[in-house]
């Protein structure tokens, strides 16, 4: 599954979470923080992370599986920091805050999210197993 993946690290992580192009300000701050995040982990863990993200296009699947299997903590940490940065942008306001009333539609969305997470977790585990991550 060794494939070439478009975009730099920040763009890819942001896209995996928000499905859109990263705002310049978020990219700027994320790139400043990258070194600090990596400095909290061993070189081996950081290399393993880079190796892993270059083996798949689906970072979201890789992240949820590695979170459950307690692998690739660098990836999990970078996702988390990206979410913190993204929340400050007005364009993401509606991603975080619900402004529409709807119990039934919310129920349907939440149930589909459970299935979606199940699918992503299985896919992520397959990526980890096949690529011996």
């Amino acid at each position: 599954m060794n494939m070439s993946v478009p975009g730099n690290e920040a763009e890819r992580i942001y896209h995996a979470i928000f499905n859109r192009k990263i705002p310049a300000s978020v990219q700027y701050h994320f790139e400043i923080l990258l070194k600090k995040i990596e400095s909290r982990y061993s070189n081996e863990e950081v290399s393993k992370y880079f190796e892993a993200i270059n083996k798949t296009c689906d970072l979201e699947a890789l992240e949820v599986a590695s979170r459950h299997l307690k692998k690739l903590p660098v990836l999990t940490e970078k996702f988390k920091i990206m979410v913190y940065l993204a929340e400050t942008c007005p364009e993401n306001y509606r991603v975080f805050i619900n402004e529409e009333q709807g119990f039934i539609s919310a129920g349907i969305s939440l149930i589909s999210s459970l299935f979606r997470t199940g699918y992503k977790s299985v896919k992520g585990m397959a990526i980890i197993t096949v690529n011996k991550i």
Partner: protein
């Protein structure tokens, strides 16, 4: 120059003591590190409406990525003290008051102390709460009344009055959020059954103004509680301190870190460090009042006695967090104008284990939504869906467990001036978890022992220098907080409490500090 009184620390106890002296016409000198809040003011609209069109990076993350440093370094801290404009509250604490050992200890060297970021819960103690103390609720009553007038406390006369004491002088309670209003209404319908089972619910008593008071404006429900300091509707001791300084009723010397005291020609010499240039500095006084918080006052006492051997008991009321889910609110709009502090309180009288627990039910409208991201088990996009649709249905119960012998920690001074602090919290009795879950289920809010986070350290420390009727050890205090064998040195903070009930103790510490200040003042006047 010799001062009559020196107070160390500007937290709730220090400021209440200063107020007590001021009302007796005595002008104390207050020594304090005194980090000040940044000069920032919130916009004049609701935070969420503001966020729709404005980048809030400076407010939520900070130009130096302050909020994220806590996340990256995996430091446990409440979201409030992690937010950029609130970081002055815990600034330099690790350097100024180093602590070794496994326990995380929250300390503040801010003007106003940890109360600059508090939840403003202000509860009177009743006699049952003051176990093993040589004072009772009636001794504190006039000081509670005086402080109620000073602070402006909102609350109500309800089922919790027997546990929270007199309602005299209370402002009307804060507006309840929709969820918690529903919970209170279900409680009222099932009141008899719940009361018979030992469950009581009522309004919180908060230092939050519900009408303009003493030149401060009333709560605007704009949801900035988590992000901005010095919101005038939330009382902090710094307000009273500023007033006393302005009226020249207290002399305030900041940037001073007190290390210990010694004696010279019948006077007490307070030895300190000027934190601006690290130079030594000393002050002479006739009486010294320690109000630096339990951890730091204990350090000063041990350091003054050069005691590196004694291990003192450290007590606190550990905190257990229960998520509360209100199913009918799933998919509802986020209540943007709910007050993100305690809205309701609950008391569990557990006869079967002879324990009374008290908890605060908190709305979650103010914290960053990102805080919940890594607490959810779903994939990234699905976590965001849950944050958006599920969080409006969530509140949290902070349940305090009273101090017990089996969870007593200890504190000891190391040779490098580091305090060795060890806290033990153990596990929470499963009967408590089940009882709480059952009671809330009856009130239409769901929780389960599986989702309860293990007990964490609370911030209500005490017990190191207990106040006893007949002191007979170097680390006992008299009813007036005077340390045994150390004439003129008084302790007025949490250190003197030999038992920490399941309650926020700030108000009681303030009342006790004021009581002691009153007693000392009368002694001085008689002389």
């Amino acid at each position: 120059m010799t001062y009559e009184i020196i107070i160390v620390g500007s937290g709730p106890s220090g400021v209440a003591a200063a107020l007590g002296f001021a009302e007796n016409g005595i002008v104390p000198l207050m020594l304090d590190v005194g980090h000040e809040a940044p000069d920032v003011k919130p916009p004049d609209i609701n935070f969420y409406d503001y966020r729709k069109t404005n980048d809030v990076f400076d407010v939520m993350i900070g130009r130096g990525h302050e909020a994220l440093n806590h996340v990256i370094d995996k430091k446990t801290a409440s979201p409030k003290v992690s937010s950029p404009y609130m970081q002055f509250v815990t600034r330099d604490a690790e350097q100024l008051s180093p602590v070794a050992g496994s326990s995380a200890v929250l300390q503040s060297f801010a003007k106003g102390g940890l109360a600059s970021a508090w939840g403003a819960g202000l509860y009177r103690c009743i006699d049952d709460d003051l176990v093993n103390l040589p004072i009772n609720a009636a001794d504190l009553s006039p000081y509670y009344d005086r402080l109620t007038r000073e602070i402006g406390i909102s609350g109500d006369d309800d089922d919790l009055t027997p546990f929270f004491g007199s309602t005299e002088g209370l402002l009307k309670p804060v507006r309840l959020s929709r969820k918690l209003s529903r919970l209170l209404s279900v409680y009222q319908q099932k009141r008899e059954e719940l009361n018979a089972d030992g469950t009581f619910v009522g309004r919180s008593r908060l230092g939050v103004l519900t009408s303009a008071y003493d030149g401060r404006y009333a709560c605007d429900y704009n949801n900035f509680e988590m992000w901005y300091p010095d919101l005038q509707y939330i009382y902090t001791p710094a307000f009273t301190l500023e007033k006393l300084i302005r009226e020249e009723k207290v002399l305030y010397h900041k940037s001073v870190m007190v290390r210990n005291w010694s004696r010279e020609e019948g006077l007490i010499v307070v030895n300190a460090q000027n934190i601006k240039d690290s130079s030594d500095i000393s002050f002479k006084c006739k009486r010294l009042v320690l109000a630096a918080g339990t951890i730091n006052s204990t350090r000063i006492v041990l350091n003054s006695k050069k005691d590196f051997k004694t291990s003192l008991p450290l007590k606190d009321n550990s905190l257990v967090q229960f998520p509360l889910v209100f199913p009918s609110f799933i998919g509802s709009k986020l209540e943007k104008d709910a007050l993100s502090l305690a809205n309701l309180n609950v008391v569990f009288d557990l006869q079967e284990i002879n324990m009374r627990l008290q908890g605060s039910i908190i709305e979650l409208s103010s914290p960053a939504r990102s805080v919940f991201f890594d607490k959810l088990p779903f994939s990234a996009k699905d976590n965001l869906t849950f944050i958006r649709l599920f969080l409006p249905a969530l509140a949290v119960l902070f349940l305090y467990i009273p101090s017990r012998k089996e969870n007593e920690g200890h504190i000891k001074l190391g040779h490098g001036n580091e305090l060795e602090v060890c806290n033990q919290h153990g596990n929470v009795d499963k009967r408590i978890l089940k009882k709480v879950a059952r009671a809330f289920c009856k009130m239409g809010a769901f929780t389960h022992p599986l989702f309860v986070e293990p007990p964490e350290h609370a911030i209500h420390y005490g017990g190191t220098l207990p106040m006893v009727l007949n002191p007979d050890s170097d680390y006992h205090c008299s009813t007036e907080g005077e340390i045994f064998g150390e004439p003129g040195v008084h302790v007025v903070d949490g250190s003197v409490l030999s038992y920490i009930p399941a309650k926020n103790l700030s108000f009681t510490l303030m009342a006790n500090a004021m009581r002691i200040a009153d007693h000392i003042s009368k002694g001085i006047k008689e002389k």
